[in-house]
Symmetry: D2
Subunit: 417 residues, 4 copies
């Protein structure tokens, strides 16, 4: 049995499992929730369901297998940003597409899944096809996370603060762990394994790091409240100029989803509105807030290289962390130990730029990552909304510095003199 | 049996009939359609269902009958613009309210209907209560029209151009009728009958009119196409300055819902996309377009006073016109005769301002009409989306001069030398 | 000597006098002031100087006398809004035109003045030419007022609050006069004399008025402060809906140019910053404020027809009022008597719409007034910045309801039962 | 004679020379030019003159020497962005400040210069004071460059395309030189000399570079035209996503200041409008354009570290380059040789971020650089508008990726396999 045939069997099972998980996530939705787009950067759940399906249809069924489209209008409706594929609905119209209706989209999903499974069972996959299927699955997993954070945005801005999923038992203890010290030198960065990786993390290369110390865990709500009480949101010297403008223009005075009632902080989570858990990692902070917090603390954010090297040094990194499959969908307090993966994404002080040997892939797939390499900052480590087998130590996520509807938190570092 | 008791029986029947018609209108909707708000001025169907219900709950059940709210959050969610009642969801958020779900809203409707019927059956209505119920019913009828035009906007901007309601047989002939000449003099304007009227049309008063001639019918699609072919949209001298800016900024070159394919005009209607019927009245034009068309034709729009006086002179005004109850939901070609009511609203060259004896009612009801008397133009006559027993000869509708998602058409007038 | 020749001599003198007054107004300017455009609706003084000159060059010297342009670029630079003449610099760029420099513009003015005087001295003017020269002079006078109000805006928003012109002695007394009662009936409206008038006020026609009472004088600062102290700016029921939005969005809490320091009101005037004179007419209020004030007072604004008819009834109307030629450039307190002309413009509750017999003139001159007849409200009576021989009882000024950088005040009226 | 006293003498001479050069730059201005602010990012020349003066007054005369302000309003008017110093005029109002007038500002400059010279002559400068004076002078030099590029923007957007300074003789030849190859390894980056440097370039540290090749000179107009002719501005695959939006939204199709007439390119320069010189370095391109050009060419932009290391390897780097003191104020064609300094700034593919050991200085001076370290890209090397003794090999300039009113050009690099 050669490697190609083995892989095809494996990939079909993986395809089914990942697609199924998208449906699992949607279990808490009401029919009314599927079509909302309260702000430009949030997409309606129905659109996520269709768009991830279109990706497989377009790149595998149509382009590789020569099938016709399920519906000739769908590429126009469900292409997200691929300029080389053709015209598309503008992003701000996604929430207005009441048709096709949800039932049609679910049929579309079934259709494409069946076609894909048939195709995978009959086809001797070339490298390119396998890479595209892998890309499609990772793409679906990225949208699983967005699905959760977009649902949170939709429900979290509803005055009724609905519960999406009942809360589960939470750890109630938290011990402070000492920082990790990393000696300076030349380190390898980036992915060079056998499995799937995105183009933006590939091309292993060397960087020089000076000695540094990095925290073993991320900042908690309790710690972040100290920053607020010390007037962190009112002191311009703690902020980048653009961050200070953002704070003033949007009257920011706490992380997203926090509400203050009679001097007590509550936070909206997918498990509803509840009193803030002080032991939880702070999340839904922007880069601007993470950066200001670090400055207030007399430290700084790590670069993405410092993060990656430190993460590799931790032998105990395990699969026991808080990922989307746990179904908790909110960060949890940590016990003692180093926690680099899961729970909350961590802002780094690295701009999202190409690695030295980066080459944008040819054609529409080349639009996947490369064209966004400007004006965004890198986040590392995955969150409680990230599927577990989607994350990697080398994984680079990226958002604009003011964005905070993802589960984004803070880890601190400092220079060792 | 005194008059009050008679009226109460009558009003309960009317209440049921009008509320039922709202449900009838919704029959063509899919669950997905209920929550969309593609532009600020369109409200989601679900919101219309809840808001019209809230009106009865707020002004009758809570304020008159002393009941508690069905849900304490609903006033916040479904108040439209009454500042004196309290805070409310901002207009641009209506489309983001996925909760309460449709099922809850339908329950809310049932609950309020039952409570209202019980209240109406048991209560000896004072004048104020009767007036409020009448206002609520007329309010519901206004929203029935908005429901239709908002549904049309939502579906008409969907790339799939869905059919909301199958087309019906249409008249195919149209004969030109001569204009109506009205001699100058002092005329009475405004409502002073016994039945319901809005505050904005009440307070009968006198105006002086000079001799004028007014068309017996509204402008057809065929006539409007001649304006387009004569480069009507490209000649600044035909337009008001703000209208010319609007044409250029929005690249306007035809009425809303028209599409040109291979030199043939199609138009989207609630019966789907079909070839333009040349005999139909032109509709979905803005005041700017109506005004430019009139100037191109060497005529002008009538004032609302000229319209009202001319309308009264027509003995044959009848109930046979095209209103919402017909279920056609699109304008139809006219036979010979004067047609002032139904089919399409007609722009006048009158700004929406108070009549001489106008007094804004006290309290929140006073916000119904009076506070909008600026920057809008008056339309008269009702349309194919207006409930028949809602319209009156004295009825004043009003929209901003660039708005055209209502069924708005053109009637011309001219001075007689 | 026939009438034509008489008129030509007269018009040359008038031409010189009016042009000279533009220079008189500019005496208080520093070179730095000539080029500023702090907001879109304010034009730089240098632009006013050039634009009024271009008007004579374009319509008389080039189009009538066949001369070449002083500079081929100037029509592009100094045309304001005439679409039929050709392209032009966008309005928002006027403040960026540092070239041509002031010296060049003053030469341009001299050149056109000399050419015009020569032309007027040698030409047997036809009716059309005389009408154009009259139009140009009235146009210049309109810009004299705008020059003053634009200068006030530029200097009044400078943190140094510079004095443009030293203050003069002011009356210090003010007696309340009873209102004027006007019986209902059919009245004549509009200009039908021999002299110059704008197209928008011509075409005398009849209107019917019901009995009304109108104040003999405009509202004072003292009276307006009572409105403020009664929380006038915080009560939505007093405002039109658009006005209420305007108040909240722009945090309006007093007329333009008022400043509050330690509970005392100051106001910036062209004579500098000084303590508010309570006897002065309130000025620099928007239509929204005028309308809210009237509602608070239990009265209403007059229509422009009521204003015009009442004004005609006042025998004592005289040339002794406060106009631009006085050089005071700010409103003054009134003695006992009726004051309809000068001091402050008065908002009416009439939308700016065409009179019944209105016909837009052919060609570019037709763009002067007619194309602005939408979304604006009429003001009557002239102000302290209006040249005395420019105003008429029939004169219709017009601005958008939120605008208030003109000297705009309030006169109240009410219905007589 | 100790070092401190020597330095003070030196610095007074330098102070006079640098301040004088600001006046030299202004020689070509007309009085009308001093106050214009055509877009938000351009400041009026008068403001530059006052702001650079305020810097010395605030940080030396007031804070060190204890003098009173020349005018109490000036700190409010001429502070640029120092939040810790207090309120200030908003940036968009700079062009509206017609007062203080130019004469007052020139007096302000004289006053501060005299006071400074007196202070420098009498004071035994401590390290902090000397550092502040040095900072003030470098600050003034930065504004000299901005003064030139802002003047160019003001005059270059005037329809009359005025000449600011007559053209001079230009080289007419250009020979292509081979690229420079740099072997991989650990390199030192940043300033650690004795003289002045900005905080953002200090803190020498190590970076690891892989083997690379970098061009000896910047891209010429001739080369850039080939990109345009190959439809560079119409192919989305060449652009970053934000860059492609920028191209479409602003209809970009050539560098700033280029005009196409009858298929021939002209460019506006401070020497007026002239036919494009094909041998000149392309300038006034945004980062987006530089990046797209590099992708089209199959190369990439260097990182700022690659640029700095390559620059150091060039023994022939000299003071003979094209800087502001030459008075040419436009880029010139290069002869054979490596040209890293002067002529045009060069975009790098490095985001503007803190160096590893960066510490923001305490107090208001700490706002000089650090707070802008987000969303900007680094440029290196100085331009024809940069004073010669202001530039350094380690100098880091920074602008947003869409900005191009500076003299910004392109140097290419590539990976060596």
């Amino acid at each position: 049995m050669d490697k190609t045939q083995e892989s095809l069997a494996g990939i079909a099972e993986k395809f089914q499992r990942i697609r199924q998980f998208t449906s699992t996530i949607c279990e808490g939705l009401q029919p009314d929730d599927y079509n909302a787009q309260p702000v430009l950067f949030v997409s309606p759940p129905k659109w996520h369901l269709a768009h991830t399906t279109w990706f497989f249809e377009e790149f595998i069924l149509v382009r590789k297998a020569g099938r016709r489209y399920f519906n000739e209008s769908y590429p126009y409706l469900f292409n997200s940003y691929y300029d080389l594929i053709g015209d598309r609905v503008t992003r701000d119209s996604r929430g207005t597409l009441t048709r096709p209706i949800l039932k049609d989209i679910l049929e579309y999903r079934s259709y494409v899944e069946n076609e894909m499974l048939e195709y995978l069972s009959k086809t001797e996959a070339d490298d390119d096809t396998r890479a595209l299927v892998e890309l499609g699955l990772n793409h679906e997993q990225q949208h699983q996370e967005l699905l959760l954070t977009d649902i949170k945005f939709i429900l979290g801005h509803n005055p009724l603060t609905p519960v999406f999923r009942k809360s589960q038992h939470l750890p109630s203890e938290k011990k402070v762990a000492p920082g990790i010290e990393v000696p300076g030198g030349v380190y390898k960065i980036g992915y060079d394994g056998e499995g799937f990786s995105f183009d933006n993390e590939s091309g292993a290369h060397s960087v020089f790091l000076h000695d540094y110390r990095i925290d073993r865990d991320t900042v908690t709500n309790a710690e972040y409240i100290r920053f607020i009480h010390d007037n962190g949101y009112e002191r311009p010297e703690l902020w980048l100029a653009d961050g200070w403008d953002w704070v003033k223009n949007h009257k920011i005075n706490a992380p997203m989803y926090w509400q203050k009632k009679d001097d007590v902080y509550f936070r909206y989570g997918l498990n509803g509105l509840s009193r803030l858990n002080l032991l939880e990692p702070v999340s839904h902070v922007s880069f601007f807030e993470a950066d200001a917090y670090a400055r207030w603390k007399g430290k700084r954010l790590p670069t993405e290289f410092e993060w990656e090297v430190a993460c590799r040094t931790q032998a105990e990194l395990s699969a026991s962390e808080n990922f989307a499959e746990n179904g908790h969908y909110e960060p949890v307090p940590h016990d003692q130990g180093a926690h680099f993966l899961g729970n909350v994404w961590e802002w780094t002080n690295s701009a999202y730029l190409p690695y030295p040997f980066y080459k944008k892939p040819e054609g529409a797939v080349g639009e996947y990552n490369g064209k966004f390499m400007i004006n965004q900052m890198v986040l590392r480590g995955g969150s409680c909304a990230t599927p577990k087998d989607h994350i990697r130590i080398t994984y680079r996520n990226f958002f604009h510095p003011e964005e905070r509807w993802q589960f984004s938190g803070i880890r601190l570092a400092e220079h060792i003199h």
